[in-house]
Symmetry: C2
Subunit: 338 residues, 2 copies
């Protein structure tokens, strides 16, 4: 028998999640049945979308039930296999969630391509976040040479890829991040301009960094960054909306006036395209094209990535809460086993 240690949703958060919203449990796992494998989790991905699934609200995914293991993308090692596709010892990408071991149907797993890179990259630069950036730009943002692309949370796994792909396409990349250390990192990544959203003169800095306006705003945060970006969007600008992390912990609508009709008015006057998306929409048909283009560029160092690794499942809750406040620096990963 294998024992799995897991973190389950104990209660729904009101605002920012706290330790009381989670509970650690252990469970004896049944042996894998026909077509199943027993997995040991090596790396767990922490992503902002998980916050939405903790609510019992109308969202784009079904909520996590109280008592259910917290969900999440994982890199795991196969310990036992009752499926011919997987030998013991191989590494797989799956969705085992916040736990040390699990039994999963083999058909829900993906073999991890041998790119010569650490397997954890399948959770970040070569995984869902990297693909989110690539798909949002390919399908919606469509940056053209000489255009200006702005992205917030720019040192995160989505934002850093957005900026680097924008530059690959010949566009000017402007990154927004919180804090001087992150801003310095954006320059290292090759962003043409980098702005600290915590600066008092943030709006003026954004204006100075986008003298020709903004053609693509890759929206993953919302809030005050959106307010500063909106008036600078050029006619025919495109806004892929893949996240609004600034609002995820909000418990009520902000005070007025109500600017929702004014937002529509701006969309009209500037012929803007504002398009929400979740990467699943494009994953089945475009993942191969993404990996074919991007994996070699990551392997040869032309595209850089950064991970923010937390050791141990015990520390996952704190790391998750920190990520929602922007305290991670790079792709948030919990390292559970070697």
């Amino acid at each position: 028998m294998t024992t799995s240690t897991r973190i389950v949703l104990a209660s729904r958060p009101h605002g920012a999640p706290t330790a009381e919203n989670f509970r650690t449990e252990t469970a004896e796992l049944r042996p894998p049945g026909e077509g199943e494998v027993l997995l040991e989790t090596l790396d767990l991905s922490l992503d902002p979308y998980m916050r939405g699934m903790m609510d019992d609200a109308d969202s784009y995914t079904a909520p996590i039930e109280i008592g259910q293991t917290m969900v999440g993308g994982t890199v795991s090692r196969v310990l036992e296999s009752r499926d011919p596709s997987y030998e013991p010892g191989v590494l797989v990408l799956g969705y085992a969630g916040w736990q040390t071991h699990s039994v999963e149907p083999a058909k829900r797993l993906t073999p991890i391509r041998d790119t010569g890179l650490p397997a954890s990259t399948a959770l970040g630069v070569l995984g869902m976040p990297g693909f989110t950036a690539w798909a949002g730009l390919e399908n919606i943002g469509k940056p053209q040479p000489g255009e200006t692309v702005v992205v917030a949370a720019a040192t995160g796994p989505v934002g850093s890829m957005v900026g680097q792909i924008a530059r690959l396409r010949g566009a000017r990349a402007v990154g927004i991040a919180g804090g001087t250390e992150k801003v310095a990192h954006l320059h290292e990544l090759g962003f043409d301009a980098a702005i600290n959203h915590r600066a008092d003169d943030f709006e003026d800095q954004l204006a100075a960094a986008t003298p020709d306006g903004i053609d693509v705003y890759f929206e993953n945060v919302g809030g005050k960054v959106w307010d500063a970006v909106l008036p600078r969007l050029n006619t025919y600008a495109r806004v892929p909306v893949c996240g609004l992390v600034a609002n995820y912990n909000s418990t009520s609508l902000p005070d007025g006036p109500d600017r929702s009709q004014a937002l529509l008015g701006r969309i009209l006057k500037r012929s803007l395209t504002v398009r929400g998306f979740i990467q699943n929409e494009f994953a089945a048909t475009q993942t191969d094209a993404f990996l074919t283009e991007i994996a070699p560029l990551v392997a040869d160092g032309s595209i850089r990535y950064r991970e923010d690794v937390t050791d141990g499942l015990d520390n996952a809750v704190a790391a998750f809460a920190g990520m929602l406040e922007g305290r991670n620096f790079g792709k948030a990963v919990v390292h559970i086993a070697d």
Copy 2:
């Protein structure tokens, strides 16, 4: 010498335009120079966009200056020509504005195709409003067979075309209009469902008329119709935004709470496409395709249209103010000369 009677902008309106914002003048016209023609205005188009141009605000077109003749699309007869393209007596589509006569460069005019229909159709069903509907659906709304398309101001020249094209594409057309007479007309036009937005149970009626949700909302009014539509938009719904007439006379933002971030949240959660547009974006490349498809259908009665004709330039101001309040019933046209 030819005398032109014209209506100029006397002052900028604060809220709804009133008679004091306009002034009638007469002017002696100089004879047409080389490449110019002298025109007599037969029909003047009244359109919601003109309200925006009366403001000295950031809009998608330059404002009308104080003292300048009110702008507008016109059907005119050539009285004198100093350009080889136009013989005296022919009818042309132009942008002469709110005046009885004008001298125009020939290159700013378009010959009116002989469709066997009244020339005023070049201002409505076969003109800018009809093309707006067609282009918004072809390029953004993309209604598929079996989908539900909703449009407000549905007896107007844009809305009635949206509904009829939606049905041509095999979609279900739901029209929203103000008053029982207009609702009855929508049924005559072949809309699958028609709703009176003045009804107390408007939201319930909309829900009943869209049991499978809404796939395309052609936005030309904004305000409370938008509020009722938004929660009913399906995943991947498309919203071409070509007008927000409900807001054009607004002088301040409505009271809170501020729902603008919630709007972005809905765009994200439903993977919505919200896309502003002005028909000029598509006119140069797509007008031929529009006329080739639609003119024969109007000529044979498969596509119906309705005009709301006001006689005499003297009555243009009242007709314009009425249109902004939805009092017109069909395409608003001022008939100036036979």
